[in-house]
Point group: C2
Chain length 147, copies 2
Amino acid sequence: MNVIRQHTDYALRLLVELGLAGEKVSAKRLSRSAKVSYYYTAKILQTLRGAGIVTSTMGKCGGFSLARPPREVSLATVVGAVQGPVRLNQCLMPVRPCQLRDRCPITGAMARVQKQLDDSLEAVTLADILEAQQAGVKRKHQNRRGT
Amino acid sequence: MNVIRQHTDYALRLLVELGLAGEKVSAKRLSRSAKVSYYYTAKILQTLRGAGIVTSTMGKCGGFSLARPPREVSLATVVGAVQGPVRLNQCLMPVRPCQLRDRCPITGAMARVQKQLDDSLEAVTLADILEAQQAGVKRKHQNRRGT
DNA sequence: TATATATAAGACTAAAATAGTCATACTTAG
DNA sequence: CTAAGTATGACTATTTTAGTCTTATATATA
């Protein structure tokens, strides 16, 4: 089983493309460059807009762009927005916490792992991914020149 | 969505009960003390046995017990045995890794988070949970004496 | 040996989550 | 006014999850 769902993965791809473009891009163009179906792209972009991660302009020549600098968009933000917060187990869900929580010896250990996971997801930002992308492209070019 | 599924949570409860008992216990008794349906308990115990986490003896007076000391049973072990390894996203699945992996800028970040999650799950053992349980019981008794 | 009490193995079902499509309405540049 | 875009939500198929139940096998003991 995957912690990160398919559409969250798509969301990340779309955000990477948006970040690389650095300007307003239409859903259609995004769907092509990110290799995600147009309809699904449109849907995911709506979610991202609702979460304030991207902004949109309607009408002809409309499109989407990043609402904030890539450094301020963490993995935790995107995952939380698209598929909801990742909880280790039911007891740690904000709503309806386990009744036995106080007496349960497992909760403590879980909460610690949860904290570490949260921190890990918070630590990675879209900027990191974009930098990795650019480094990758650069390396590729160097390799080309090398051969 | 929860990373840890219901039956994995049950498995942990069952293992805690087994650890507390410190001796062979029947599935029926375990199902009662862990508050898990008998049938489901039996099924989960089979999985745990298959993974070598518990041992069983058949027939009348049969039952289950821990196959190893609690210190050697990590959260990662239990989770992996019951619900399969936790992967952050599809690309990181051992089988059928993403075709674009080499060129994908997201994979690197994911792999790092995955590593941290693995480490977190590996770090917690059944012994930790049992100790927490005993500490909890002790504190409760102290409170009782206090009042 | 008969029987009661266990585990072993897997078929089966219902409900929920996931992934994705599509139809329709609204907005705006030209 | 129309072409090119976003906005919204209904709808469906598939997969996963959770859980039950049936049947078979093993063994202690009366």
